[in-house]
Amino acid sequence: MKNSIKVERAKKNMTQATLADLAKVSRQTINAMELGKYVPSTVLALRLAKIFEVEVSEIFMLEDVDWE
């Protein structure tokens, strides 16, 4: 799964730390998600969408490997 957290974060001019505070997770979690090392839970995905004021599907995108 791909995600555009980094892009959305840049649009809003946020650091990883501020996003982490807003989403009530640790900075490591944000970092791991941006690097594609961690797939967040649905709840966290929805929270991020709310923070960025976009749809979840605009932040997270399926890739071909996700169907295997």
Binding site: Q16, V25, S26, Q28
Partner: protein, 140 residues
């Protein structure tokens, strides 16, 4: 945790058992060397190692499972992964010692095996958290 581990090792290796810890203690099963065993009774025992064992286990449980400052879903995932990993490693070591160690040496391995599972967990979990923190510091 550390002092009880130190005393625990003293108790194991030097057979250090202070006399004032000698007590008659209740037991669930009395296993006599000669004659039949029976359920429930009193045996004379030095309770020093029991006290230490309980201390080691409780303190390492506290160290292992106390929450991080910010315990989120990713941290809990790492926690679970580390626990599974520790179980695998522990039993891998146990299998090897089953096959290649005998008699008293195996008995010693069994003693340590009671505590190593949680020790492996603590090491692996905190190492993972540490390397994550390091990785997220040079990012921005």
């Amino acid at each position: 945790m550390i002092p009880s581990v130190i005393f625990g090792c003293m108790n194991l290796f030097l057979e250090y058992e202070p006399d004032f810890f000698d007590f008659n203690v209740p037991t669930i099963f009395v296993d006599k060397v000669f004659g039949n065993g029976h359920f429930f009774g009193l045996v004379e025992n030095n309770i020093f190692n029991e006290i230490l064992g309980v201390f080691v286990i409780i303190s390492s449980l506290i160290v292992a499972f106390s929450r991080e400052k910010l315990e989120d879903e990713y941290i809990s995932k790492i926690r679970l992964e580390s626990l599974v990993w520790a179980v695998y490693l522990n039993y891998a070591i146990l299998i090897i010692s089953f096959l290649f160690l005998f008699d008293m040496t195996f008995f010693w391995v069994m003693i340590f095996n009671m505590f190593t599972i949680i020790l492996f967990f603590i090491i692996r979990f905190h190492w993972q958290i540490y390397s994550l923190k390091k990785a997220s510091e040079n990012e921005e």
